[in-house]
Amino acid sequence: MTDANLNSKTFQPNVDVAWNLRLINGIKRYLQSWDQLFLPACFLALLLFLTFSSPYFLTWANLRNVLLQTSILAIVATGMTFVIIGGGFDLSAGSVVALSGTAAALALLSFGVPVGILVGLLIGAAIGSFNGLLISKMNLSPFIVTLGTLVTARGLALSISGGHTVSNLPREFTVIGTGNLMGIPYPALIFIGVFVLGHIILKYTAFGVKIFAVGGNREAARLSGIKVEKIIMATFIICSLCASFAGLVLAGRIRAGEPTVGVFLELYAIAAVVLGGTSLKGGQGSLVKTLLGVLFIGVLQNGLNLLNVPYYWQQVAIGVVFVSAATIGALRAAR
């Protein structure tokens, strides 16, 4: 619309059209910003609701609890965000948490803390490479490959420990799960660290941009010279590394290598990523969204416990939140 058109009296109807267009655009923009603010608004509503309905919710001890409890999920979800933006997903994360924690516990009892930590992380890297290799080079479905490693890693965790809990871990190690800095638990500090590092990589490096490109359109990414296989593989390695790191923190937190932990953790991590607004189709999303999703799930679980909601209803509530998030995502995509 040119100025001439707008000022000319003979084109009056066009002015109306322009005004209508502007109005429609305004509403659209408004709705879009409503979209962006929907989850934060829900989160805020949840916080307010819990503050008024439970005297224990807004206490330092409880907020500290929430941070501590979400830290494991947050670290796993950080890695998961990379894989999902890259267009895949990783079902093995929960089992990797268990395997790394157990293997690290066994190794550090025999060879000392540094070796234990190294073993835990190496296992994560190895499983991630295995997943990534089969998915990128052989073009296999992430579903079947990571489901396979889910079962395998769980089996390995149980077999190397004989199904027993590996206990009596030295204090130098367990401090990563039980210590605190000025009242803030180490696991929370670790998750903030992992999160910030992940955010910088994803947002401000060429590698991060390439992940988005590969997740958005693999062929276009390949044609523009990106080594697609390498990027996909890297996302899976990052995800498993995060999971094994979470496994170390969890082992520190319960002061034992426990081969049975982390069942369904991967699903909660994927849910946290999607809840935040990152699409499972890949190519878009951010860690800030994931953080919001993680905190939402953490606060919800904590709040349901504090309100003494019967367990079956807790399940219903969590399920409804997941489905609602998916619905909002679908509405957003349809607009």
């Binding site: 829900c42 609701f49 309905s53 439970s54 224990y56 206490t59 001890a61 409880n62 609890n65 501590l68 409890q69 494991i72 149980l158 420990s161 004989g162 199904g163 027993h164 809990t165 206990s167 009596n168 039980t178 969890l250 937190r253 319960i254 002061r255 034992a256 426990e258 081969p259 049975t260 932990v261 982390g262 069942v263 369904f264 679980q301 904590n302 349901l304 416990n305 504090l306 309100l307 003494n308 909601v309 019967p310 367990y311 079956y312 209803w313 807790q314 219903v316 509530a317 409804v320 609602s324 619905t327 909002i328 509405l331 349809a334």
Partner: protein
């Protein structure tokens, strides 16, 4: 555009309803019940909300708590150590007066017991215990080794000290499983004619019982007894035995005496199970908790009464005997 609006409205309504339900539940559960003396709130951390055994135990605990005028706050761990640790943290934050826990892991829960101790909250174990009795104010339970021995002896008697036994031993790593398996093996080892042909580990579900028993029956068609670490496994195993057409020839033993298992014994399908009388167990535990709260508890293990239920005595048993 219309369906989107409808979806949005539905979404809002659902969320509102959920909030109301949540709020209602919270209100009801935290409403103070009039009672003489101090109003106690006890935190309850159970391993599972779908296992009939824990459901019956929870029922007994809640009944007794109501009788005693004690509030109960429940968190469920779904057999996940991390979740149980988190749940107990929530109980500590909610400043409960005591915590009744059935710990999933012998070692992994130590950190929670320590946290409770630090907060000055006594922790009482029920059904399962941890490796550090000094952190537990009491343990209301039974000696798993003893229970395993009872089953082992029953099996040996039943097959006259000769035959093939398969073991569906339960979830690998659980303390109860380790002790019971050990006891049964010790008893069976006294009979050179008895051979253990399989020792399989799995979680306590009917599906696992069915699947593993099928495998056992294929590999050892002449197996005499399938020992199952709990009734869910046993009920699955009975299905497999029936499908193989060997009902009555292969004796399946369970543990816990859940209603389905008792029915199965009554119908002559399952051969034997042991009733731990979970409801009485829960009630007994609340008595112990009350004593701990009032500083009247002494000692560590409070042993419960169990009862063998088999095809020989089932006719004479009443429902109350099993609760």
């Amino acid at each position: 555009m219309n369906w989107k609006k409808i979806a949005k409205v539905l979404l809002c309504v659902t969320l509102l309803l959920m909030l109301l339900v949540t709020y209602g539940c919270g209100q009801k559960a935290t409403a103070p019940t009039p009672a003489s003396g101090k109003q106690y709130t006890v935190g309850l951390s159970l391993a599972s909300a779908t296992n009939p055994f824990y459901m019956a135990m929870e029922k007994g605990i809640k009944q007794k708590a109501e009788e005693l005028g004690i509030n109960i706050r429940t968190v469920i761990a779904e057999e996940d150590v991390g979740r149980q640790v988190s749940g107990i943290e929530d109980l500590i934050v909610a400043k409960v007066d005591a915590i009744l826990v059935s710990p999933i892991s012998v070692d992994g829960l130590k950190v929670s017991y320590e946290a409770a101790k630090e907060a000055g909250i006594p922790a009482i174990s029920i059904a399962r215990s941890i490796a550090n009795p000094e952190l537990e104010a009491a343990f209301v339970g039974l000696d798993w080794y003893e229970s395993g021995s009872v089953i082992g002896k029953w099996i040996a008697d039943e097959i006259g000290g000769k035959g093939k036994v398969a073991m569906l031993a339960g979830p690998a790593g659980a303390y109860m499983v380790l002790r019971m398996t050990e006891a049964i093996k010790d008893v069976l080892a006294e009979h050179p004619g008895i051979e253990i042909v399989a020792e399989l580990y799995s979680t306590h579900t009917k599906e696992n019982g069915l699947r593993l028993a099928e495998d056992v029956l294929v590999a050892n068609p002449d197996v005499d007894v399938i020992y199952c670490n709990n009734d869910e496994l046993a009920l699955g195993a009975v299905e497999a035995v029936e499908a193989a057409g060997r009902l009555g020839k292969v004796k399946v033993t369970g543990f816990n005496a859940v209603p389905g298992a008792v029915q199965s014994v009554r119908e002559g399908r399952m051969a034997m199970t042991i009733s731990l009388r979970p409801e009485s167990w829960g009630k007994m535990a609340m008595e112990v908790v009350k004593n701990v709260l009032e500083g009247k508890h002494e000692g560590y293990l409070v042993e419960i009464d169990t009862l063998v239920v088999d095809y020989k005595n089932i006719a004479g048993l009443k429902t109350e005997d099993l609760q």
